[in-house]
Amino acid sequence: MTATDHIHETVNAVYLSDSRRVLATLIRLLGDFDVAEEAMHDAFRAALEQWPREGVPTNPRAWLVSAGRFKAIDGLRRRKRFDSLDELGDQADIAVTDTAAWADEESVEDDRLRLIFTCCHPALGPDAQVALTLREVCGLTTEEIAHAFLTPPPTLAQRIVRAKAKIRDARIPYQVPTRAELPERLDAVLRVIYLVFNEGYAASSGTAVTRHDLSAEAIRLGRLLVELLPAFDPNRASPAPPGTEPEAVGLLALMLLHESRRAARTSPSGDVILLDDQDRSLWDRAQIAEGIQLVRQALSSRQIGPYTIQAAIAAVHAEAPTAAATDWAEIVGLYDVLLRAESSPVIELNRAVAVAMRDGPAAGLALVDAILGRGDLSDYRLTHAARAELCRRLGKHAEARASYGRAIALTRQEPERRFLERRLAELPK
């Protein structure tokens, strides 16, 4: 390998490990997503030219930020040749003198948090938050995101362009929210990460049950958030050290515990395998161990939120050596806590299924029918799938058949449809 090849490899490695950090800092320094992105690419191009000649700088990231900023200001200068240069001249001087501001580890990590919170700003639509986060924070290409979300690339590109325009025109600031704003803003970030995870874990439509890359990306994001975010306990005078924000930790635990079952969730032919029927030896023990440890950490905090409770439920399943040995009483108890923290019909439905496991299918069916009786979840495929299953176990075959029919009509996911049709066919005539 020649020395130049070697440098090219180094530049590629720095791109993979640091391009998002460089971008995050350039957005702060230049105040515009598109200008920063172009500047970052210019900086990496400059590295490919200059590093073989001049050697790899001691701090490649600071070099790239500095080069990117210089290129951007130079570009603006040339474009605005006939405008007043004084203002830009001042900015260029700052670029030379405040190198410390971007070489400094802490402010660089803050930039990454700023980027996450800006991409997940609730003034942007939920779809735009997801697309922008995957594009800017994770560095996925527009085509990759479009493919993962089964969206035409031009639609997705348009979504990103509009989101950036709103950031600029409505002046969404590039900052980590204040402690007063944090609860709502953190909710939005956690929601985006969990949405990305679920999209990868149980795609709501399409032919493959899992789109692994999105789940892996969400777990990476979850880790990054836990790493960067100090805990904002309102009862404490100052923020706790990073790595301890309970709901961020809880969400990471929840994702790891779900992800641990990936290999057991589908058969080689791509069919769905329910939790009860999964080969537990296929569960990823390392992910389970990490997930359980994180649940314990989150539960030991004074603020226990919905993600942590859901992770605790997943941990009870993960700890059961067999489906029959599952501690359903514990799970029902956790669902009660969850319903108090966040009441929703979907959580009630899950609780009804757990009650059926603890007290028998008749008790569960009564709860499911109560939800449907109120007019909730009647268009939700899993309500009818759960009802069908409980009726089947109770020997109410005609009712089971009707509910499987409703569930099949509502599902848009091929493997799930095959599963439900198989169950329906297995019912005694």
């Binding site: 003034a123 939920p126 709103k166 025109d169 409505a170 709502e184």
Partner: protein
């Protein structure tokens, strides 16, 4: 008596009238003592809706007011950025009952 004159335009006609003409009109009104404040707005895609329920601020994308809700007042505020504007908007009392649409002002272009 003060009157609020609200300008309505279809999205694609936002630039059907030249900014310079609007500026001249504003200057004329101001000269004759008619004008208190006038501003152009950024398009509807830049809107953010703020509501306060049970003391909790909720922020959503867009101007998705209930159709029953009618325009019932306005505050022209000076804020550093959108977060700042949201903070102010969340303190406007009707935020508890209805919703406050926060829309950035658009600088008119004299050319």
């Amino acid at each position: 008596m003060k009157y609020l004159c609200l300008v309505y335009l279809e999205g694609e006609k936002l630039h059907a009238v030249a900014d310079s003409e609007c500026m001249a009109c504003g200057a004329g009104f101001r000269k004759s003592g008619l004008l208190i404040a006038a501003e152009a707005l950024q398009p509807i895609e830049t809107a953010t809706t703020v509501r306060v329920r049970n003391g909790k601020v909720s922020i959503t994308d867009g101007p998705f007011a209930e159709t029953k809700e009618q325009l019932s007042g306005f505050y022209l505020i000076e804020a550093r950025d959108l977060n700042d504007a949201i903070q102010v908007a969340s303190k406007i009392p009707p935020a508890r009952e209805g919703s406050i649409e926060v829309r950035p002002i658009r600088e008119l272009n004299p050319e």
